[in-house]
């Protein structure tokens, strides 16, 4: 069954028309993809998330939208003054995209120098021997985006990469983003995935690689709000050089299958990682975050905070691992995962892991699973607030701190009402947590 699906993907790869200079990378990817043992329920990394939705489908390659996108689709784009690249069903849509600076280019438009940068960096940060779906991404590599800032370069505006799926059929879309920041460079990036069709049954496999040079700083946001029928497998790989900073934020609803991996390596001393995440599955959705932070060298810091509100009969998985290598003395690492179950059927499997091989480090981790606080509910209803609205306010309150922590003001303003509406579907229930 499994091997069968791996073969299916290779057959799909053969149907693609490909940029010649990517052929070598694709071949490496395909060989890595085929050498992976297909995960079973006994495979630790996939213990709580079934790949059946991927296996039980005859996938086709996605193609560009045949018709113009409905206006409602465009209104779902984040209102942010940014360099914007919009992909519709995996194809770059020039009309919806903005003018781009020379440092930001789609793979298809890359000049010889940029092609060299891509070839040099691709799969250097992401390890496709470890990450199954990164190998798939490289196997199917065709479209992609490169952001390459040279020494001390700083973009005037954030980069906004949107992936819209608008088909209600089983198409597979491959997305790839490569960010290379040379020393001292600074960038802000927003990746946004969504469906225009509630019945979107597409699958997007999205890999982001970030090489953050010495003293460089990357603020990265990944917003996953596809239809609940859609599948998403994705990963964000980050390598931090000396005194580099990565500030990550991620938000996801759930769907039939949604699996997002973060793999971050501190490779230069003095580097700093802040990673915040929110997952909000409801109905029968599934969401699975796996994070792995490796401290390879001394004097680096990690602060990781994930919070989930799991409603109805949804299921969430959080597996956060911090690995302190033998040489990584003076590491400061903290990880916290808090979960709120708002129904009796909701489930979460949380597993924070610390693996420490150095002896002079300060590390802490914690995970909690709780329900809505009855005392707080009564306090609010005793102030005249309906129980339904109180539940929405308390659910939002559980993640509010992380929403408020989003520094990109336009994104924060955009997020608030959308998150609120995941907890309460009417304005009556959300109006007191959405302020102008």
């Amino acid at each position: 069954m499994a091997a069968e699906f791996q073969q299916q993907a290779i057959a799909l790869a053969k149907q693609q028309s490909v940029l010649g200079w990517l052929t070598a990378a694709r071949e490496q990817g395909q060989s890595a993809w085929q050498s992976h043992a297909w995960p079973t329920r006994k495979t630790e990394a996939w213990r709580y998330t079934s790949l059946l939705p991927v296996e039980n489908e005859q996938w086709q390659l996605s193609d560009a939208a045949s018709d113009a996108l409905p206006q409602t689709a465009l209104s779902e784009l984040i209102e942010i003054d940014a360099y914007r690249l919009v992909f519709v069903n995996g194809q770059l849509n020039a009309e919806l995209s903005s003018e781009l600076p020379a440092t930001l280019v789609s793979f298809a438009d890359a000049d010889a120098d940029q092609q060299a940068v891509i070839q040099q960096h691709l799969n250097q940060v992401a390890d496709q021997q470890t990450h199954l779906f990164t190998a798939l991404s490289t196997s199917l590599l065709q479209q992609g985006v490169l952001l390459h800032l040279s020494k001390n370069q700083r973009l005037e505006k954030p980069v906004y990469v949107a992936h819209i799926n608008d088909k209600a059929n089983a198409k597979v879309t491959n997305a790839r983003l490569l960010i290379v920041l040379e020393s001292g460079a600074e960038a802000q990036v927003v990746e946004h995935f969504f469906s225009t069709d509630d019945q979107d049954r597409g699958w997007i496999n999205a890999v982001t690689e970030c090489s953050v040079g010495a003293n460089a700083s990357l603020r990265h946001h990944r917003i996953n709000l596809e239809s609940e029928q859609a599948l998403h497998t994705g990963s964000v790989h980050v390598a931090l050089a000396e005194s580099a900073r990565f500030n990550g934020f991620t938000l996801a609803n759930g769907s039939r299958l949604k699996r997002i991996d973060y793999h971050i390596k501190h490779l230069g001393s003095g580097s700093d990682l802040q990673l915040n995440g929110i997952y909000l599955p409801r109905h029968k959705q599934r969401v699975d975050y796996h994070t792995c932070v490796e401290h390879v060298v001394p004097h680096c810091t990690t602060t990781e905070v994930f919070r989930g509100v799991i409603a109805d009969s949804a299921k969430a998985v959080f597996n956060g691992r911090i690995h302190i290598h033998q040489d990584a003395q003076k590491t400061l690492a903290e990880m916290s995962n808090r979960n709120l179950l708002t129904s009796d059927q909701a489930q979460v499997n949380t597993k924070p892991e610390l693996e420490i091989y150095a002896d002079d480090v300060r590390c802490a981790h914690g995970a909690t699973v709780s329900q809505l606080n009855d005392e707080a509910l009564f306090y609010m209803t005793s102030r005249g607030i309906s129980e339904a609205e109180a539940r929405v306010m308390l659910s939002f309150g559980f993640v509010n701190e992380l929403v408020e922590g989003v520094e990109l003001e336009a994104l924060k303003q955009w997020l608030r009402p959308r998150i609120a509406h995941m907890f309460g579907q009417t304005d009556q229930l959300t109006r007191h947590i959405i302020h102008e």
Partner: protein, 249 residues
Amino acid sequence: MLTIKDLCASVEDKEIIRQLSLEVKPGEIHAIMGPNGAGKSTLGNVLSGRPGYEATSGTIDFKGLDLLDMDPEIRAREGLFLAFQYPVEIPGVSNMELLKAAVDARRSHTGQPELSAIDFMKMAREASKAVDLDQSFLKRGVNEGFSGGEKKRNEIMQMMLMEPSLCILDETDSGLDIDALQVVARGVNAMRSPDRSFIVVTHYQRLLDFIVPDYVHVLANGRIVKSGDKSLALELEAKGYSWLEDEVA
């Protein structure tokens, strides 16, 4: 305003209030005093509708309505307010959000137009000033990291904004220093009016120096064992509660 007749109430099947009757007319301040375990806090909780506090018999009429038949939020919208003995901390929900939701709910229930965000902000600022809370408290999580005194002042601020017709203060004086006590009392006294009533539940007479009651009731073993005017509070202060318990027994 409020008529309690032969109320019996239980918590976890244990009877705490036994055959309690009380009449509070508009504009009156009633103090309920009594030793620990007498049922003082239970009375406030039954009145506000806290889950787990069950009225097993008797009736409570609130402004012509059957109070026991109403959910807590409806009681609040009708104008009943309980200032908590232990206000709850709610991180992530700001004081301002809670207050606006509360006041909107009360106003729309009583057919008053909703306040604009700006008008409400003005009102909230004034209220916070009146209880000596810095405006920054409006933006903080509800009671999050507040000191004991700040929590109690926050309760009074909520009460001012809700403009209730019946205010129940559940041991609002506990844990307050004399300055905070005066702030609380000033807030309450500023709210006194001919159509607003207060039930002040307290263990000590001290609060009643500042909030002067029309009636003082002594609660023991779940029933009112003695009622009088404010001089009863002074007598209790001097003699303690035991003589009353003996007298009843």
